[in-house]
């Protein structure tokens, strides 16, 4: 039980660091003076002190949405696969529930965008609706593929099965599913090439456009949700698609886990640096690749047989 709570707290604490870390790697590689990776924490504390401005045009949705955006994501953190053996309790819940909870968070985020009657919010919601509609099938297909390989739909059991009996005969479909999931990691977290978290230009904004009217604590809560979402996806990728290390003793397992997260951050940063942001109507091509890879992963799994 203590392991469980501690690992949830670890994820809670480390997630903003990951987002900041991606940013500082990017700055370093662009020969800029890198920002501290702990910058998101500073930002968070700064936002807590500021006053909150509500839009006159908005309704109580603006006031409640930040809570409803953050809380499903916190619930998801309790449902993740274990970092080391026995560290997660409620990980019997499956990936559909997690997908659903993340969609619930996005649902209220989109409503928040529409609430303030600004056309930026509408732009963001409309684009987010478009992208997340296409993310959903890819997510479910790749999760289906990995759960077949792990012979369990429950995420906790799946991660442990993969660690202890890695399906070497299905390495091909494993890699295909991993690529599909990595594309989803980028798309769902609003990273380049799907969305650019750093600009505030109406041509490129997706996520930022929806939260343009939020301020103070509300903004802090939403940024927290964004960071946690990245942490969740990174954890899912680290436990399901890099399945090693969880069988070590707990201190080593945690170190391996953190190293894996850092590896994912570096990967994301390198991809962000080397690609341009896609036009909105080209994003379906990228997500189409994820869907096709999910399909291919299933097909190769079925053809090779159990």
């Amino acid at each position: 039980m203590i392991d469980y709570i501690l690992s949830v707290i670890l994820l809670f604490i480390i997630s903003p660091f990951l987002v900041g870390f991606v940013k500082s790697i990017k700055m370093y590689m662009l020969f800029k003076k890198p920002l501290s990776p702990f910058w998101p924490y500073i930002n968070f504390l700064k936002l807590l002190k500021k006053e909150v401005i509500y839009s006159k045009e908005g309704s109580f949705i603006s006031k409640t949405a930040p809570f409803l955006i953050l809380s499903p994501i916190i619930v998801v953190m309790f449902l993740l696969p274990p970092i080391f053996k026995g560290s997660f309790y409620i990980s019997f819940m499956d990936a559909f529930t997690i997908t659903g909870l993340l969609s619930l968070s996005t649902f209220f985020l989109m409503l928040l965008g529409l609430d303030s009657a600004s056309s930026f919010g509408g732009i963001g919601s409309s684009r987010e609706a478009f992208i997340s509609a296409l993310v959903e099938p890819a997510m479910i297909l790749s999760v289906f593929a990995i759960s077949l390989m792990a012979t369990s739909i429950g995420l906790g059991k799946a991660a442990l099965n993969l660690t202890y009996h890695f399906p070497f005969s299905h390495a091909a479909s494993f890699i295909l599913a991993a690529i599909a999931f990595f594309i989803l990691l980028i798309a769902e977290n609003g990273r380049i090439p799907v969305d650019n978290p750093e600009t505030h230009l109406e041509l490129t904004m997706v996520h930022e456009a929806m939260i343009l009217e939020s301020s103070g604590v509300n903004l802090a809560l939403i940024e927290m949700a964004t960071a946690l979402k990245f942490g969740i996806f990174a954890t899912l990728f680290a436990t399901l698609f890099l399945p090693f290390g969880a069988n070590l003793c707990w201190c080593l397992a945690v170190i391996v886990y953190i190293l894996k997260l850092i590896l994912i951050c570096v990967l994301v940063a390198v991809i962000e640096l080397n690609t341009a942001k896609l036009r909105l109507f080209k994003v379906p091509n990228l997500l189409g690749i994820a869907i096709i890879f999910g399909f291919l992963s299933l097909v190769t799994f079925y053809i090779l047989g159990v």
């Binding site: 500021k50 509500y54 019997f92």
Partner: protein, 621 residues
Amino acid sequence: MFNFNPLSVLFLALILLGVIPNLFYMSGYLSHIKRKMHFLIHYFAFVFSMIGVVLSNEILPFLFFWELMSLTSWQLILTEENEESIKAARFYFFMTHFGYVFILMFFLLISNSNLFLSFDSLKIAAAGFKYPTILFFLIAIGFLSKAGVVPLHVWLPYAHPAAPSPVSALMSGIMLKVAIYAFLRFIFFLPNWPIEWGIIILVLGAVSSLVGVLYALAEHDIKALLANHSVENIGIILIALGVGMIFTTLKLPLLAAFAFIAGVYHTFNHMSFKSLLFMSAGSVLYETHTKNIEKYGGLIKNMPLTAIMFLIAAVSISALPPTNGFLSEWMIFQSMLSSSGISNLALKLSFPFAIFALALTGGLAIACFVKAFGITFLGLHRSANAKYAKEVNVLMQIGEILMAVVVISLMLFLPFVIKEINIALPIKDIYNKIFPTVWIMHSITNNGGAVSPLLLLGGLIIIVAAIYLFYKSLNVKERIYHTWACGYNTNAKSQYSATGFAGPIRRFFAWLYKPEIHTQTQTLAGHKTKFSSSFYEVHIKPLFEKSLYLGSEKLANVISYYIYRLSHFEKERYVVLIFNLLLLVLFSYRVLYHNVTWGNVLLEIIVMAVFIKILIFGEKK
């Protein structure tokens, strides 16, 4: 004549759950209806006929109540007589009787001309029938055309919006479910389903769900949007039933039972949230007097209760946890994931496509309901009608609240509902396997997933409360100010419209929608970039209506044209016609009984064609 068997009682409960809140809502809505007597008679007859269909245990009562259900709902569509509703009613009348012909044929084929046969003996008769595939197709076309399955769904987006809102809620929420009931009841009469039947139902379901949600997204009439969503949800129900039928054929009774339960549970859920959606959309319509979603906006400030009701139903229909809509979709996914145990590779490979269809449907449904809720209730008022809307009267509010209670209790009392469904269907008892304890729902396979709605709901509530306390403890200063609109005034025109919201999706699926775009811009002194007024409208004609229905209409026109010409000939032409027929008989006699060579056949066809062309049609004028 009537029988309270478990399946009937289950659907009786469904009807009552849907009707009781609707009665309150209807009595509140009544002041809006001009022909009150006409409406009330047909409304109650409609409700009783649906109960009659579900309870009747003989052929004749069943057919009587089925027809009564169709006719009363047809009259209810005509409550407000205007051009639109007359057209919708005509279409509905035709389509419902098109289905009725097939139902009648089904009964006539197996009843041995005894229309007072009870369903128990009908079951024996059906089991002994030599060509069960014919019966399957008669059942499928007859009942599923009423349920609104693609391609027989075209009447639905016309008929449901034309009716008054309480009736739309009844038709969409309950009448479609009565059709599902009839399909379930009679499909279990047929023994030994071939694998193809299940696949047909699965494919129909997958196509319906996608087509329904895609057309819903492009729709601007709020009630037509909801009606299109009914097509989608019927599709989801059929996916579950199809999976169940496939598993039954493959002799996997546990998995089949799980899929059937998922389908029937989704039937209940769809009844609850679709009724609630139609009720709250009806309240909006009641106050604003327009069905056009672009004319709403900001209604959450005038009608907070209706907005919250719509939000509950929207979250539920978008299959977001922990609502009942999510739980039934979760069950359907779980039953499809169990397909990896099938040995037939081709069949196994087809399941990911169904999963893909269902997942894409879920994603698009979220987009659609963000649009429906966001454009209707959020932002600024887009028209004067929306500005002066008030909260509806108490009776209508009570109706909505009761329906929301049904939605929420279907989630909270999940184990109980599942148990009742399991008892009612002629399938294996798997309740104890799904619910070893009442808190957690397990998938039927050993390595399946699990979900616990109460845990999720409790977790969400606790965490929201914790964040709220955190927020309160900070003692933040709050200020209210205008939305920043880059220096311009924030006004209703600059908000995103429903057309704009669905824009990216419409553009991506342009091959399906084939939108007709009308634009009109008045330029100022020849400057293309400056304009005094502009107009943009997108019009979408459903593909199925265009190709299937209008196509067959065209074909019928062509044929009738030639028949018309034939019937207006002079005497000489008739003589020639008879001569040609004689020729045809002689030729075919020769071909069929003596010389069958292709050369002769060709020669004779040419001779016939020449005679027909010269003697009958004559020269072209």
